[in-house]
């Protein structure tokens, strides 16, 4: 009996126990990862895992269980247990799921060159060459370089007692770098991750070697030339895609998650300030602000065609022309908001429950070039990248510390680099001060953390250049 058959059996068995809803997910996953420090291998690891996760709804209460023993007896034992626990749970408001169209389909991440077809030497040589290239770019300042390259493929089969089943083949490649630079008594650190839902071809097509080498050059310049400045006054700030991406993610994506608004993450990732404003004027930003979460972008780290509840994915316009437009909903949250799911249910593993997550969240590109954004700034700052950041757990009071940053004077980016400028802004302070967005888009990947146990899920956090008028820079 293979994993698909066991998942089908799980649904039948859960049904036979009287569960109102049963969903079974079988995942077989392979990882191939390479880790170097200063060009020397710390490890090359090839792993394979598989297991099955089952979610049930019984009398309005939810249960979830998983096992790595993929056979009938283990699955029946799991379902007996979670159905029993769900029956013992108490809720005044029963959990219900939104009605969604039944689908039976399959989808795959488009791959031109599967990881399995790439000779081992080519993979090892790539990461060693990348290290050399970053080292050269650092001009002897980047003395400590850690590189992680990971290739993951997964076969997933999800089936539900509502009649849906989706088979998916995914492929994700990512490279994370940790660079430590030192020049005289100054030290700077940069962590950056790039990734794509694709095959080995991504490295060449997107010129990742050049992109990451550029990050090394950026860190070299920052550690060598950036000087402390004191501002503490309102200034115009242009943020590049890396910074606008993290703002879209933290200040808009997270508060848009339906489960946060309903309080379900309160003891972990927190709630959402949206719960205060959902019934008020939805204009929370300037007209120039449109923020999209789009899982359908081919090649993106957060790409998928159907979510973990078998709902077809589509772009979600979280904010449209400054107006709060749409939340991130799975079926449970959609029912509570009297809406349809917009396919936001994701999980990181067979052993994790699907919950509302972001995919690829970004400011919609505008009509300007990035040069035009800068032309119109008399005194300001350009933030190309960031280092420290955080935000309160209702997602309103945020802080972003710039890494590569330049003074802008009379419409031109100067050679004067600013060391660690601080934007400590509320979400309104960001969204209500945006007056222009560029055409260009810059991609970044991050593992977004949420839930308990933690589910670090791949998302993209890039975007266009965005101009903020008159915000206080610390």
């Amino acid at each position: 009996m293979d994993g698909k058959d066991v998942a089908d059996h799980a649904v039948e068995y859960g049904d036979s126990l009287g569960a109102d809803y049963v969903e079974a997910r079988y995942i077989r996953s392979k990882d191939d990862n390479y880790i170097t420090r200063n060009g020397k291998f710390l490890g090359i690891q090839k792993k394979e895992s598989r297991g099955i996760g089952i979610r049930v709804l019984v009398d309005g209460c939810m249960g979830f269980g998983s096992t790595n023993s993929v056979h009938r007896k283990a699955v029946e034992d799991t379902i007996d247990s979670v159905v029993g626990m769900a029956k013992l749970s108490r809720r005044d408001t029963p959990i219900r799921l939104s009605d969604e169209k039944t689908v039976r389909t399959k989808w795959s991440v488009p791959v031109k060159r599967p990881f399995a077809d790439v000779p081992e030497d080519e993979k090892r040589n790539y990461i060693k060459e990348l290290d050399k290239s970053i080292k050269r770019a650092g001009k002897r300042t980047i003395k400590n370089r850690i590189l992680f390259m990971n290739m993951n493929t997964a076969d997933k089969y999800t089936t539900t007692s509502h009649g849906s089943c989706v088979r998916a083949n995914t492929s994700l490649i990512s490279i994370m770098t940790i660079m430590n630079a030192r020049y005289k008594d100054r030290k700077e650190q940069k962590m950056v991750t790039l990734g794509s839902s694709s095959g080995w071809e991504w490295l060449k097509e997107e010129n990742i070697m050049s992109e990451l080498t550029g990050q090394g050059e950026s860190l070299y310049k920052t550690v060598s030339y950036a000087k402390d400045h004191t501002f503490n006054r309102p200034m115009d700030v242009v943020v590049a895609g890396e910074v606008s991406g993290i703002m879209a993610h933290e200040n808009v994506g997270h508060p848009s998650e339906g489960d946060r608004i309903l309080g379900r993450e309160a003891a972990q990732a927190g709630e959402s300030f949206y719960s205060d404003i959902l019934d008020e004027d939805p204009q929370i930003g300037n007209e120039e602000v449109t923020i999209i979460d789009d899982p359908t972008l081919k090649g993106s780290p957060g790409y998928y065609r159907y979510d973990e509840e078998c709902v077809k994915a589509r772009p979600r316009y979280l904010i449209k022309n400054g107006r709060l437009n749409e939340l991130l909903l799975n079926r449970e949250c959609a029912y509570r908001f009297d809406k349809k799911s917009n396919a936001s249910a994701r999980s990181t593993s067979y052993s994790r429950e699907p919950i509302p997550r972001m995919s690829n969240t970004f400011f919609e590109t505008g009509d300007h070039t990035k040069e035009e954004l800068i032309e119109d700034v008399k005194n300001g700052i350009l933030l190309n990248s960031f280092t420290e950041w955080n935000i309160d757990d209702r997602r309103f009071h945020s802080k972003y510390v710039g890494l590569e940053a330049y003074l802008i004077k009379n419409g031109e980016v100067t050679d004067t680099m600013v060391r660690r400028p601080v934007l400590e802004l509320t979400t309104y302070g960001i969204l209500r001060n945006v007056d222009a967005v560029s055409k260009e888009y810059e991609s970044r990947m991050a593992p977004c953390g949420k839930s308990d146990p933690m589910q670090p899920i791949p998302v993209s956090v890039g975007g266009p250049h965005v101009r903020l008028r008159k915000v206080v820079v610390g």
Partner: protein, 480 residues
């Protein structure tokens, strides 16, 4: 086939295929979770896994770095062992040497420390009892002043077996229970309390006490106002101290140093805190969530002072990093410094490298951090606060400008209070603590008597820590 026989078969098979050193770790675990919010249960979960981790090495004993490979056999059987291990030994031969692996503990250990309290038979009653414990906890929190209650209750049991090719290891079992209760008096006024224990006696009462504490804190934080940024003294609850000083302690790790992520690099034997500050890594502490008789190389567990009367005194090591550090000391002509393993070897993952929790290499990891108790009660800390002081009960989202320097900020969460003239004046909110780990350690002015074990979303290493007072901290707030 017994667990011991299964592990022996794995080790013998790997050695027979040409592996030089082998670790076989057999885990059978069952964990449960109940999550709740808005004072009702959201989901009840159970995870069950049984697997055999195999760590394989090859290479000359004197070589600088050796080849390593790991394999996880899920739902292990003799047949899987016989087919999968030979394949992975063949893969091992084709891999480059790892600069992180220099060998494992080859001494023969016939005895291990005997630890009491690792397993509580009452764990088997928990799946049935837990839902009503959660309900009672919620009720207790409402009685304390909460209007809505959220949280998570975990409990579980593990059978762990270990056998190395040097004959070290054994079999033991553990159980645990831990919970976070976060209660709200209104959307912006919350309090949090934790339960972290292996001892299930009166677990229902412990949970209800936690619920009640969280409810009372939430009620006391109601009506909080935004406070001005600036310089304040700071009283950290154990939850906050566990996060901030736990992050400092995690720097006492050679792998963090190799990665440029440790602010303790170059600080060995320096005074980094007051004489009253002593912290150890302690795998033997009673009730510790990571207490264990041996580490993942089969080295008997022992205590390691990390900060001794304010002096940074040791790094944690496994056998490999101890050898590496010994060599580095020789290169620096410091022949007299010969570190040995501190029994902190952990099969784990380096970075976020994969889609599962399976180990990928042999690392160095802490067991439980244990702070020596100080002399202050919380009331004494408060009443002795003549300068404006912030009392933080919880925090989250600690992020670094640069981990090598230890500069960071973190966001107070839940109840926080302004103390003036030795009295709690009012609840405050929307501040951010900006800090420097080493400076804050040096600025500790008071250590509490009330050591308690902390482990939750923001504190992954179990940490026995009291309230801690730090002078002259910087708080900021959003400016637009």
């Amino acid at each position: 086939m017994t667990d011991e026989e299964l592990m022996k078969m794995a080790v013998d098979t790997a050695l027979g295929q040409g592996a030089k050193e082998v670790i076989a770790q057999l885990i059978e675990e069952e964990e449960h979770q109940i999550r709740f919010s808005y004072s009702q249960t959201d989901i009840a979960k159970r995870w069950k896994r049984n697997y055999l981790d195999i760590f394989l090495t090859s290479g000359h004993p004197l070589s600088l770095g050796k080849k390593i490979n790991t394999l996880t056999i899920h739902d292990p059987t003799p047949k899987k062992i016989k087919t999968q291990i030979p394949r992975e030994v063949r893969v091992l031969r084709s891999l480059p040497k790892s600069k992180l692996y220099w060998g494992m503990d080859s001494a023969s250990h016939s005895t291990y420390p005997s630890l009491k309290g690792l397993y509580d038979e009452r764990i088997d009653e928990m799946p049935e009892k837990a839902p009503s414990i959660v309900d009672d906890t919620i009720s207790a929190s409402h009685e304390g002043g909460a209007k809505k209650v959220s949280g998570v209750l975990y409990f579980g049991k593990t059978n762990k077996g270990l056998l190395t090719s040097h004959g070290n290891g054994g079999v033991y079992r553990t159980s645990y229970c831990r919970a976070t209760v976060r209660s709200f008096h209104d959307d912006n006024s919350s309090g949090q309390s934790l339960v972290v224990t292996r001892n299930l006696k009166d677990i229902d009462k412990k949970m209800m006490d936690a619920g009640s504490r969280a409810g009372r804190l939430a009620k006391r934080s109601a009506g909080g106002k935004e406070e001005k940024g600036g310089r304040y003294d700071l009283i950290m609850s154990p939850t906050v101290a566990g996060n901030i000083f736990g992050t400092l302690l995690s720097s006492a790790n050679p792998i963090m140093m190799l990665g440029g992520m440790s602010c303790l690099k170059g600080k060995m034997d320096e005074q980094i805190g007051p004489d009253s500050l002593s912290v150890r890594d302690d795998p033997l502490v009673n009730d510790g969530m990571n207490s264990r008789p041996f580490d993942d190389e089969g080295t008997p567990s022992k205590r390691t002072p990390l900060i001794d009367e304010g002096v940074f005194s040791n790094l944690l090591h496994n056998t490999s990093t101890a050898k590496l550090w010994k060599l580095l000391n020789w290169i620096k002509l410091k022949f007299w410094i010969r570190p040995t393993t501190t029994s902190n070897s952990v099969l784990g993952q380096l970075g976020m490298t994969g889609s599962d929790d399976d180990p990928r290499t042999l690392l160095v990891g802490p067991s439980n951090y244990v702070f020596e108790p100080g002399t202050f009660t919380l009331n004494e800390m408060i009443s002795s606060s003549k300068r404006p002081t912030i009392y933080m009960t919880s925090n989250w989202y600690t992020r670094f400008t640069n981990m090598r320097e230890g500069k960071f900020s973190t966001v107070p969460r839940d109840a926080a209070f302004l103390i003036q003239d030795g009295e709690v004046k009012r609840p405050v909110r929307n501040l951010r603590l900006k800090g420097d780990l080493l400076k804050m350690c040096g600025d500790i002015t008071g250590i509490g008597k009330d050591v308690r074990q902390i482990q939750w979303w923001e504190v992954s290493t179990p940490t026995f820590v009291p309230h801690i007072k730090v002078k002259d901290c910087t708080f900021t707030k959003a400016k637009s």
